[in-house]
C-alpha cells in the first residue's frame, strides 16, 4: 500500500466509488444476459415443440 499522505481519503473514495460502480454495471449486465439467454432458450424450446405438434 503506497503512502497517500493527506489525500488518502480523496484518492481512496474516488477509486472505491469508481470500482464499485463499474463492477455493479458489469454484474448487472451479466445477470441480465444470463436471464435473457435462459428465457430465450425456454421460448425456443416451446416454439420447436409447437412446430412439431402442428406437423403431426
Amino acid at each position: 500500500m503506497p503512502d497517500l499522505g493527506k489525500y488518502a481519503e480523496a484518492v481512496l473514495s474516488a477509486w472505491g466509488i469508481s470500482i464499485f460502480l463499474v463492477l455493479a454495471l458489469v454484474g448487472l449486465s451479466w445477470r441480465q444476459s444470463v436471464v435473457a439467454r435462459r428465457q430465450l432458450e425456454a421460448a425456443e424450446a416451446r416454439a420447436a415443440k409447437r412446430g412439431k405438434s402442428d406437423d403431426a
Partner: protein, 258 residues
C-alpha cells in the same frame, strides 16, 4: 467502370463491416470476439490500474491526488465517446434500418451513464481538496452534468415507449438533436463561465503532463476502458437482441393460440 458498378464494388468492400449489422451474424461474431475483448480488458485495465495506483510517484503540486486521474480521465473520455457511439449507431438504424444499430445504442446508454457519474463524482472528490469545494460551476464539470441529463432523458424515452421500433426511431431522433444541443451547450457553458479554472483536464503542469511516469499507465487504462466498453456493449446488445427475439416468439405464440 460506371458509377453504379463502382458504388456496388465499394459496397462489397465494406460488406465485412455490415455483416455485424445482421443480428444472426452479430450474435455469431460477438460470441467469438467476446472472450478476446474481455481478455484484452483484463490484461490492460487491471495492470494499468495497479500500476497507476501503486507505482506512480506523487506530483509536486497535487500529492497523491494525482492518482485519481487513472479513474477520472478514462471514464470522462468514455462518457463522451459512448454518446458519440450511440449517435453513430442511431444513424445506422435511421438510415439503414439495421436493428442492431438501435439496440447497440440502447445497450450503450447505461454504460455511458455510469462513466458520466464516475467522471462527475471523481471530479468532485478531486475538487474538494484542490478548490476547497465539492462542486464548482466549472465549464467542464457543468458540461458533464448536462451530458448526464441527456443520458437520463434518452434512457427515459426508451423506457416509456412500448413498441420497440417506435422507441428505436424516436430515441434515435433524440440522440441526433441531443448531440447538436450538447455541442451547443458546451459552447454556451464555456461562454457563460470563461474558464475560471484550468484548461487541460486536471491540469498537471506541462512537463508533468507529458512525463512518462504518468502517461504510460494512463495509456494502459485508456486502452483498457475502451476494451471494457466494447465488451459491455457486446454483452448488453446480445441481451437486447435476445429480448427482441423472445418478444417476437411470445407474440407469435399468442397469435397461434388465438
Amino acid at each position: 467502370m460506371t458509377k453504379m458498378e463502382r458504388t456496388k464494388q465499394s459496397r462489397d468492400a465494406w460488406n465485412w463491416l455490415w455483416e455485424w449489422a445482421n443480428p444472426v451474424k452479430f450474435m455469431h461474431l460477438t460470441g467469438k470476439a467476446l472472450p478476446w475483448v474481455v481478455g484484452l480488458t483484463l490484461v490492460t485495465l487491471i495492470p494499468g490500474l495497479i500500476w497507476g495506483f501503486f507505482f506512480t510517484p506523487e506530483a509536486d503540486k497535487f500529492g497523491s491526488s494525482v492518482k485519481i486521474i487513472y479513474v477520472h480521465v478514462p471514464s470522462a473520455m468514455m462518457a463522451i465517446n459512448a454518446w458519440a457511439m450511440m449517435l453513430v449507431a442511431s444513424l445506422i438504424w435511421l438510415v439503414r434500418r439495421h436493428h442492431v444499430g438501435a439496440l447497440a445504442a440502447k445497450a450503450a446508454a447505461p454504460v455511458g451513464v455510469v462513466f458520466t457519474v464516475i467522471a462527475l463524482l471523481t471530479g468532485a472528490i478531486w475538487g474538494q481538496p484542490m478548490w476547497g469545494t465539492w462542486w464548482a460551476w466549472d465549464p467542464r464539470l457543468t458540461s458533464f452534468l448536462i451530458l448526464f441529463l441527456f443520458y437520463l432523458g434518452y434512457m427515459a424515452l426508451w423506457a416509456a415507449i412500448d413498441d420497440p421500433d417506435t422507441a428505436a426511431d424516436l430515441t434515435s431522433v433524440l440522440a441526433i438533436v441531443g448531440s447538436v444541443f450538447a455541442v451547443l451547450s458546451r459552447y454556451a457553458v464555456n461562454f457563460w463561465n470563461q474558464g475560471l479554472h484550468q484548461g487541460a483536464s486536471l491540469s498537471l503542469d506541462a512537463e508533468e503532463n507529458v512525463a512518462d511516469v504518468y502517461w504510460q499507465p494512463l495509456v494502459l487504462t485508456l486502452v483498457g476502458i475502451v476494451a471494457l466498453f466494447v465488451a459491455l456493449v457486446f454483452i448488453r446488445t446480445r441481451t437486447q437482441l435476445r429480448r427482441r427475439r423472445l418478444h417476437a416468439l411470445e407474440l407469435r405464440e399468442r397469435m397461434a393460440d388465438a
